[in-house]
Symmetry: C2
Subunit: 454 residues, 2 copies
Amino acid sequence: MSDTVKYVLSEDRIPRSWYNILADLPEPLPPVLHPGTGQPIGPDDLAPLFPMALIGQEVSTEREIEIPEPVRQIYRQWRPSPLYRARRLEADLDTPAKIYYKYEGVSPAGSHKPNTAVAQAFYNKDAGTKRITTETGAGQWGSSLAYAACLFGIDVDVYMVRVSFEQKPYRKAMMESYGARCVASPSTETQAGRAVLEEHPDSTGSLGIAISEAVEVAAQNEDTKYSLGSVLNHVLLHQTVVGQEALEQMHMAGNYPDILVGCTGGGSNFAGMVNPFLGRQLRGGPKVRVIAVEPAACPSLTRGKYAYDFGDTGHLTPLVKMHTLGSTFVPPGFHAGGLRYHGMAPLVSHLHQLDLIEARAYHQKECFAAGVQFARTEGIVPAPEATHAIKGAIDEAMKCRAAGAGRTILFNMCGHGHFDMQAYSDYFADNLTDQAYDEGELAMALAGLPSVAA
Amino acid sequence: MSDTVKYVLSEDRIPRSWYNILADLPEPLPPVLHPGTGQPIGPDDLAPLFPMALIGQEVSTEREIEIPEPVRQIYRQWRPSPLYRARRLEADLDTPAKIYYKYEGVSPAGSHKPNTAVAQAFYNKDAGTKRITTETGAGQWGSSLAYAACLFGIDVDVYMVRVSFEQKPYRKAMMESYGARCVASPSTETQAGRAVLEEHPDSTGSLGIAISEAVEVAAQNEDTKYSLGSVLNHVLLHQTVVGQEALEQMHMAGNYPDILVGCTGGGSNFAGMVNPFLGRQLRGGPKVRVIAVEPAACPSLTRGKYAYDFGDTGHLTPLVKMHTLGSTFVPPGFHAGGLRYHGMAPLVSHLHQLDLIEARAYHQKECFAAGVQFARTEGIVPAPEATHAIKGAIDEAMKCRAAGAGRTILFNMCGHGHFDMQAYSDYFADNLTDQAYDEGELAMALAGLPSVAA
């Protein structure tokens, strides 16, 4: 009953390079386009927003990109993260499946986000950046960047979606504990924010608006750069430490996953786990079935269009080809704030187009039920985002039970739920709803996609 | 700037026994007395409340008490916990002191509390206990016991101080996630609770009242036992895994502490860290200066009387000799709920009487300032309780700076502050006060101590 099966790597097994799946894909990513000209953009177009090292990583097709030693040094605070076999969950499900999970909640911010925050802070420091702007929804990303930047002595301004700013004061306090400044978005500090407020003085904000604000400030200030917590290639790249460690830990376990499951919002925790496995497969290694799980209320992979779109509401970003619900799509309320984004990482969208991954969507109540089952068997209360991966893994394990198949399932438990207990309170009080998005609104948002020659 | 210095032990270095300092002390503990007879109590008096194995540990004078293998198995979920050198804090303080800290926030509940919760759940399971009752203030202990008990399939009823129950719904949700039942105390479920409510219908509760409720339910039900998260010998004993690991990790670091600092509420995280070091000293090993840091608003060690007192308000517990402010003392409000207890562990009180440790008290605002400095240098936001240890360590490091002395300081960072961000919000908004207790009330509480021949 009480056995813990944990696979621990020594510190010298923290990966020395990030893995770039673009080196192994049969087709390159569609180019990123300038919204004005419709032409592919070059590094110089991005230079106001990002340090050149990160722009280089964004477009690189090298397989291995060396992790700078100062980044590995900070990774050591919590890496390598543990990989567990979920024996008690298996027993509770009475399944012949073997379930493993990688646990990223051991980081100081409680999720996988610091894997890229530390890297981005390092390259910005190296380039002389004095201030970084970013957006945050529920606050996981904002507090992770605040953590990383404070270790490098860089100021951080976080534009936090107003509804979360007001409902989740604890995340704001966390960012302030790390010395960051947290601003409710839309704010009066930017043109983008003021424009929204003029039209909608009571706007509760959105990730798209907050991105516009953060990008605007970075674009207009020499010593200020912008940082994103998911979606972009270099962000997904930094997360591959997760999958690379997991590969080695599965080897320790004497096992290899038949099925990989991850939750997808912007796509970074998912790609960080699965890309190293998919890379092996692409280079002739064992085939693995990969399942992306997304919220039914914001289903970019399962219901979005694969098309060029803006990353933000204010249309300040370049155009990227991705699965998108349209930049004007506003999902109904649900608790997994980290999965509330209208688009999917271009790289994850590309993997889906290439049939390397499949996708499915779940409603939040069934995910919380899975999260509670996980807490009561494995002892860790998962973040609402992570409950989607758990639900996906449990469903696969139950299929194994029905089929009498002892398959091996691995998922990324990307964070703990300590900052999301309100969601659990609501779940236990039966105050959660599985609100569907409005089909008419989705159709309208998709109809409004920019028309560019792809 | 960015170096992480972390000392990691492999899993087989999880201690195989708990260390009992009573074996090495020059004088035994004063006996525990029956409140009715004034005579020392025997194991049978405690049998309605605790399984016999724990009663045996409570009175044992054996030096090493073997840790059952199922307990070690669950410890493996997060143990051995890391020990860090606080290099960035040292640099920020510009001190020649070397500062180390053991980090217990990596447990599933985020603090050191599961070290004893798992052990207590195991022995209760072994004795056939179906339900455990306990009290909790801020909720750290309640959620730790809920975690441990659910792994062993034991029901838990937590009596949570009403003011915390209402102000901290997230801890309640955490306990419920682990399947525990959480009741606001005083409740109508017990005689003790009803008696308080009759006299004070608006009572906001206290730890003392909640203990009375939990003890009453356990005493009256055959299959129900009671569990305490600190104060008692067996609880302190279970925490010695912390200090034993730290001893080995300091050896890895090629260093030995000149000064040990810990925060004290009931005394368990403090004793867990310092007892293995004090034991070495008592057996002829190196001498270490030990500093207990307590809140100035509830200063049992620095302002309490060393006398026999009840552990609860309802006077259902036996009488124990300890530093106490009197069981009727109600401390003013402050955020470190885990340090809000009128008494100090008899064992820690005894160490103080024997001049093996010293004590000092700090106000909460200076502790939060230390906590924020720690977060911004070391990257971990500490629990309000732990900021007291940090403040103590920083003060010692600053004395080293003044003296040009490169002493080695070690403290126990007993938990993260993820559930306490309201306190940080209040601190940043300058809404915290350093409220002093009422001297007249303290004098009255002390005058009301039970009169027994000590």
